[in-house]
C-alpha cells in the first residue's frame, strides 16, 4: 500500500492550484501538487484576453475602483453570485496583478501620449497622461464599465501561468505529474486526501493530507463543441460529488463564448471585440447594434452568444459545409495591432483556417467555454459538507460568477482565490481542526475500492464502449443543453443521459493493460463525467427561469421571486441515476447591490419581494453617511473585511486616487 503524507495536497496545477500551493508553502507547510499534465500545460495557459483588476491606470479606466468592478461583476452574474465573495475578489484582484508583476509577468504597459484605437467601429484618439507612463495597461472587455482588463498581448494566461509555475519551482514545491486524483479519502464529513492513479503505470497511491484543495479547472469536455482543453473533464468536481458529502453548486450555469472559430471550436479572445472587432452576418451587416444598442458587441458573453444564435436562426448565418456561422471582423484593427496585441489569434487563424485575420474575416460561432458551477465552497474556499476539503479556480463554485462570468474575471479569480485559499488552508492546517487523524484501515479501504472499480473495467465482461458513450454524451449536451434550452429538450437530455449512465456501468475494454491505457482512462472518466452532465441537465431542467447563461425559451424571464437561489447537487448513492438537488437562497436583505436590470440584455425580471425594501435601506444608509468616503459607506452596506486574510487587507493605491 503506497501512502504519501503531506500537509497540503493540491489537486491541479493550473493557476489556481499553483497559487494556492505557493501560499501554503510560504506559510511553511509541506505541499504536493498533483496534475494530469505538466503544470504549464494546464488550460490556464490558453487564456488569451486578460485579467480584470481595477487599477484605473489608463484614461479609459479613470475613476475605476473596487466599487465599479464589484457592480460589473454582480450585474454580469445576473445577481447569481455571492456578493461577499465578489467584494473579496475585487478587493484582492489589484494585489494579485501587482504580485504577478513582481513575479515577472510582462503586463503590457501604458505609453504616454496619443494613441489611435478603434471604438464602436470608428477611429478614436486616446491620450494617456505622462504620470501613467509605464504603468500596467488595460483593454476593454465585455460587460465592464471601464477598461479594466490587464493583458499580456493575447497570451495573458500563458504569461501568468509561467510566472506562478516558476514561483512554485522556486519554492521547491514538488509537482507529481501525470497523476490523477480518482477519489477522495473521507469519513464523517472530513476529507483526508485522495486516491491517485499514476497515468503511466496505472498504480494507485493514497495521498494523505491535512488539507486537500481541488483546483482541477472546468468540465467543458462534457460538451462536443467547446473551447476547453481535452483534459478539462471535470474529474476533480466529480470526485467531490461522489463523496456524497460535498456538493456542486449551480452546475446548470454553463457559459458559451461568442467567438470560437468555426468549426474547430478554438477560442479567439474577447479582446478581439474589446479592441474594436465587429460581428457581421452573411450579408456583411454588423448586427449587434440592432439587438444591443448600448453595449453592442461588448455586452456580456451570455447576451452576445444568444444574440448570435438568434441571428443565425433568423436566417442570417453564413452557410458552410459544416453548418452555419457568423463573421468576426478584425481587419479594421490593422496588421500592426494584430501582430502586436493579437498574435495568438493570428497564429490560430493561420494554422487552423489558413487565413490572415488582418485581411480576412474569421468564421465564428458560440461554443461551450466556462463552467460557473463547481464544488460549492464558502467565502474562504472551504468546501461545504466536507471539512479539510478546499476548492478554488474554475473547479469551484466559490460563487464569484453566478450565472455568467465576465471575461477576464476568471484568471483573476484563479489567482485571487489561490492567494486566499493558500492562506486559509495554512490557517486550517495550523488549527486544531487541521490535525491529521486518519486510520490506515480507511486508507486501505479507499484504495481497495478504487482498485476494484478499475479491475472490473479491465477484467470484467462489459460490452459497452467508453468512447462511444463519451461521444453520445457530448452530442446530447451540445444539442440539448446548449445556449437555448427548453423543458422538452432538457427532459429528453436527462432521460438519455440516465440511459448512458446505466450503460457506463457495463463498459468493457479491448486493451487490458493497467497502465498507459487511454481506453481505460476514457472508461472511468466517462462514468464520472456522466454524473456531471446529469447535474447540468437536470439542474437546467428544474430551473424554470432564465438567468445569465442559463436561458430557458419556455421561461424567458429572470425570476428573482422564486429562483434567486443556488442549485446544490449531491450524489449520495452510487446507484442513483440522478443527482439530489437542493437549493440555497440568496439573501437579498444583505446584498450590497440588490437585483435590478443589468444594463444590457432583457429587461423583464420578476422582482424578489425583498428587493424594494433592501434598495430603500441602501438609499437610507447612503444618505445617512453623506460625504463619508466610499470605504466607510461600503462597510456600512456589507462588511466583508473579516473574510480577507490579514496580509491582504490593505487598501489598494491608484495613481489618480488619494486616500
Amino acid at each position: 500500500m503506497r501512502i504519501i503524507y503531506t500537509d497540503v495536497l493540491v489537486v491541479g496545477g493550473g493557476l489556481a492550484g499553483l497559487r494556492a500551493a505557493v501560499g501554503a508553502r510560504r506559510r511553511g507547510h509541506d505541499v504536493i501538487i498533483l496534475s494530469l499534465v505538466p503544470p504549464k500545460r494546464s488550460h490556464s495557459a490558453a487564456a488569451q484576453g486578460g485579467m480584470q483588476a481595477s487599477l484605473g491606470n489608463t484614461v479609459k479606466g479613470e475613476g475605476d475602483n473596487e466599487d465599479v468592478h464589484f457592480e460589473d461583476t454582480v450585474r454580469g452574474s445576473d445577481w447569481g453570485c455571492d456578493q461577499d465573495v465578489a467584494r473579496l475578489f475585487v478587493h484582492t484582484a489589484p494585489q494579485a496583478v501587482r504580485e504577478l508583476a513582481a513575479w515577472g509577468v510582462p503586463w503590457n504597459r501604458i505609453k504616454a501620449g496619443d494613441r489611435e484605437v478603434i471604438m464602436d467601429g470608428k477611429r478614436v484618439t486616446l491620450t494617456e497622461g505622462q504620470a501613467a507612463h509605464g504603468l500596467i495597461a488595460a483593454r476593454d472587455f465585455g460587460g465592464t464599465k471601464k477598461w479594466r482588463t490587464c493583458y499580456v498581448s493575447d497570451g495573458t494566461g500563458h504569461a501568468m501561468l509561467y510566472a506562478v509555475s516558476d514561483q512554485a519551482v522556486a519554492e521547491s514545491i514538488p509537482v507529481h505529474e501525470r497523476m490523477e486524483a480518482v477519489a477522495l479519502i473521507h469519513e464523517g464529513g472530513r476529507c483526508h486526501g485522495a486516491v491517485v492513479r499514476n497515468l503511466v503505470t496505472g498504480e494507485l497511491t493514497a495521498y494523505v493530507a491535512k488539507a486537500t484543495c481541488i483546483a482541477t479547472g472546468g468540465f467543458g469536455r462534457i460538451y462536443r463543441v467547446t473551447s476547453n482543453a481535452v483534459i478539462n473533464e471535470g474529474i476533480g468536481a466529480a470526485i467531490a460529488l461522489e463523496t456524497g458529502a460535498a456538493c456542486l453548486g449551480n452546475m446548470e450555469a454553463v457559459q458559451f463564448h461568442p467567438t470560437t472559430i468555426f468549426p474547430a471550436g478554438i477560442l479567439v479572445t474577447e479582446g478581439c471585440r474589446g479592441d474594436g472587432g465587429l460581428l457581421k452576418d452573411a450579408a456583411g451587416h454588423r448586427f449587434m447594434p440592432d439587438y444591443e444598442p448600448e453595449k453592442k458587441e461588448l455586452a456580456s458573453r451570455d447576451v452576445v452568444s444568444r444574440r448570435m444564435e438568434e441571428h443565425i436562426r433568423a436566417g442570417h448565418g453564413v452557410k458552410s459545409r459544416f453548418g452555419e456561422h457568423l463573421w468576426l471582423d478584425i481587419t479594421l484593427l490593422g496588421a500592426a495591432h494584430i501582430d502586436g496585441k493579437l498574435r495568438e489569434v493570428k497564429e490560430i487563424c493561420q494554422h487552423f483556417l489558413g487565413i490572415d485575420p488582418s485581411r480576412d474575416l474569421i468564421p465564428v460561432r458560440p461554443a461551450q467555454h466556462y463552467s460557473m458551477g463547481g464544488i460549492r465552497t464558502d467565502a474562504r474556499g472551504h468546501a461545504r459538507g466536507l471539512k479539510g476539503l478546499f476548492a478554488c479556480g474554475e473547479a469551484a463554485c466559490w460563487d464569484l460568477h453566478g450565472f455568467n462570468r465576465l471575461g477576464g474575471n476568471s484568471v483573476a479569480e484563479t489567482v485571487v482565490a489561490g492567494m486566499l485559499v493558500g492562506e486559509n488552508m495554512a490557517d486550517f492546517v495550523e488549527s486544531a481542526a487541521g490535525e491529521l487523524r486518519v486510520s490506515t484501515a480507511l486508507v486501505r479501504a479507499c484504495l481497495d475500492a478504487e482498485q476494484a472499480k478499475l479491475d472490473t473495467l479491465l477484467h470484467g465482461n462489459g460490452t459497452e464502449s467508453g468512447a462511444e458513450l463519451m461521444r453520445r454524451m457530448q452530442d446530447i449536451m451540445t444539442d440539448k443543453v446548449g445556449i437555448f434550452r427548453t423543458g422538452e429538450l432538457l427532459h429528453a437530455a436527462v432521460e438519455e443521459l440516465q440511459g448512458l449512465l446505466l450503460r457506463s456501468r457495463r463498459i468493457g475494454l479491448r486493451t487490458r493493460r493497467p497502465g498507459g491505457n487511454p481506453e481505460l482512462v476514457t472508461a472511468y472518466r466517462v462514468q464520472k463525467m456522466l454524473k456531471l452532465a446529469l447535474c447540468v441537465a437536470y439542474g437546467a431542467l428544474q430551473r424554470t427561469e432564465s438567468r445569465g447563461a442559463h436561458f430557458r425559451e419556455d421561461y424567458p424571464r429572470r425570476d428573482d421571486a422564486s429562483w434567486l437561489k443556488r442549485t446544490l447537487a449531491t450524489w449520495q448513492d452510487d446507484f442513483q441515476t440522478l443527482p439530489t438537488l437542493a437549493y440555497e437562497a440568496l439573501d437579498v436583505a444583505s446584498m450590497e447591490l440588490p437585483p435590478g436590470w443589468r444594463g444590457y440584455g432583457a429587461r423583464n425580471a420578476i422582482e424578489h419581494p425583498a428587493t424594494a425594501g433592501r434598495a430603500a435601506e441602501i438609499d437610507a444608509i447612503r444618505s445617512a453617511f453623506g460625504h463619508a468616503d466610499r470605504f466607510t459607506v461600503q462597510q456600512a452596506l456589507m462588511p466583508f473585511d473579516h473574510l480577507i486574510p490579514a496580509r491582504f487587507r490593505g487598501r489598494n493605491a491608484r495613481p489618480g486616487e488619494t486616500s
Binding site: 503506497r2 504519501i4 503524507y5 503531506t6 508553502r25 510560504r26 511553511g28 509541506d30 504536493i32 522556486a170 519554492e171 521547491s172 514545491i173 514538488p174 509537482v175 507529481h176 505529474e177 501525470r178 497523476m179 499514476n198 497515468l199 503511466v200 503505470t201 498504480e203 497511491t205
Partner: protein, 287 residues
C-alpha cells in the same frame, strides 16, 4: 542540483521532501556559496572563433598570392620573394617564411584542437548525430556536418602542406611549386585541400557571423538569407580562383616536367611590369 521533481513516482516512493524554508533559501541565494565558475570556457570559445577567423582571413590573402601565377610566373616569383623579405631586407631570408608558417601552423593546430572539442566524442554521439541529420534534413545542421568532415580532412591535408612549407620555404616559386605539384604528385592533395578549405572556411565565416550575431540588422532572417548567398559566393569564387591557379601550376608543371628541379629565374627582370615591385625585382638574389 538536487531535483525535487518526481514525474510520476515510478522510480522511487515519494517521501515528502522538506526544502529550505523560503527565507532561508533567499539567504542562501544572497550569499554566493558557489565556487566561481571557470572563465576558460568563455576564453576557449573566443579563441576558437578568433583562430578560425584568422585562418579564414589568412586564406583569403593566401589564395590571392598563390593565384598571382595567373598573372605571370614573375608575378608569383615576386610575391614569393616578397614574403622572404626581399624588398626590405638586404637579402631574402626563407626562414622568414618558415616563421610565418610556424605561426600559421600554431594557430592551425590551436584551432584544430579547440574545434575538436566539438567533434562527437564517441561512436554513440556520432551515430546519434548522423541519424538526427538524416532525419531532420535541416540546412544549417548539414553545414556543421560538412564543416566537421572538411575540418577533419584539413587536419591531414593541411598538415602535409604546412609541413612542406615549413621545411622547404625556399622552394616556393613558379617552377618549384609547379614541379612539386605535378612532378611531385602533390596535385591530388592540393585539389582536395582546396575544396576542403574553401568549403570549410566559407561555412566557418558564415557560421561565425550567426554565432556571434554580427550583421544582424533589423531583420535577422533576411540577413541570414543574405549571408547564405555570400557564403556560397565566397566558396565559388575562391574555388574558381584556386582551380584556375592549380591548373596553371599543373600546366606549368607538365611543361617543365623534363627540367624538374630547376629553380626559376625571372627572365626579363627590368621589363617586368609590376608597378612598384619593379624596382625590387631587379634586385633579386642571384639574378
Amino acid at each position: 542540483m538536487d531535483s525535487s521533481f518526481d514525474s510520476s513516482g515510478i522510480a522511487r516512493p515519494l517521501a515528502p521532501v522538506r526544502p529550505l524554508p523560503e527565507a532561508a533559501a533567499r539567504q542562501a541565494q544572497a550569499v554566493p556559496l558557489r565556487v566561481r565558475k571557470s572563465r576558460w570556457p568563455a576564453r576557449l570559445d573566443l579563441l576558437q572563433s578568433a583562430s578560425g577567423l584568422f585562418l579564414a582571413l589568412f586564406l583569403v590573402g593566401h589564395m590571392f598570392f598563390v593565384s598571382s601565377i595567373l598573372i605571370s610566373k614573375d608575378a608569383f616569383y615576386a610575391v614569393a620573394r616578397f614574403f622572404e623579405g626581399a624588398y626590405f631586407l638586404a637579402e631574402p631570408r626563407p626562414w622568414l617564411v618558415s616563421g610565418v608558417v610556424g605561426l600559421v601552423l600554431t594557430v592551425f593546430v590551436a584551432h584544430a584542437w579547440l574545434a575538436m572539442r566539438k567533434f562527437p566524442a564517441n561512436f554513440r554521439q556520432y551515430k546519434v548525430f548522423a541519424e538526427h541529420k538524416a532525419q531532420l534534413r535541416h540546412g544549417d545542421t548539414g553545414l556543421w556536418w560538412i564543416q566537421l568532415w572538411t575540418g577533419f580532412a584539413l587536419f591531414f591535408l593541411g598538415t602535409v602542406h604546412l609541413y612542406g612549407m615549413l621545411t622547404q620555404p625556399e622552394l616556393i616559386g613558379p617552377y618549384e611549386s609547379a614541379d612539386r605539384i605535378w612532378t611531385g604528385n602533390m596535385w591530388p592533395l592540393y585539389l582536395l585541400l582546396l575544396f576542403a578549405v574553401e568549403v570549410h572556411g566559407s561555412i566557418g565565416l558564415y557560421r561565425l557571423a550567426l554565432k556571434w550575431g554580427w550583421l544582424e540588422g533589423r531583420d535577422p532572417a533576411a540577413t541570414r538569407r543574405r549571408l547564405r548567398v555570400a557564403k556560397t559566393a565566397f566558396s565559388v569564387f575562391f574555388l574558381g580562383l584556386g582551380l584556375a591557379s592549380l591548373l596553371a601550376y599543373v600546366q606549368l608543371g607538365i611543361a617543365h616536367a623534363d627540367k624538374a628541379g630547376e629553380r626559376y629565374v625571372p627572365q626579363r627582370a627590368a621589363a617586368v611590369k609590376l608597378g612598384e615591385l619593379e624596382f625590387a625585382v631587379s634586385r633579386r638574389p642571384g639574378g
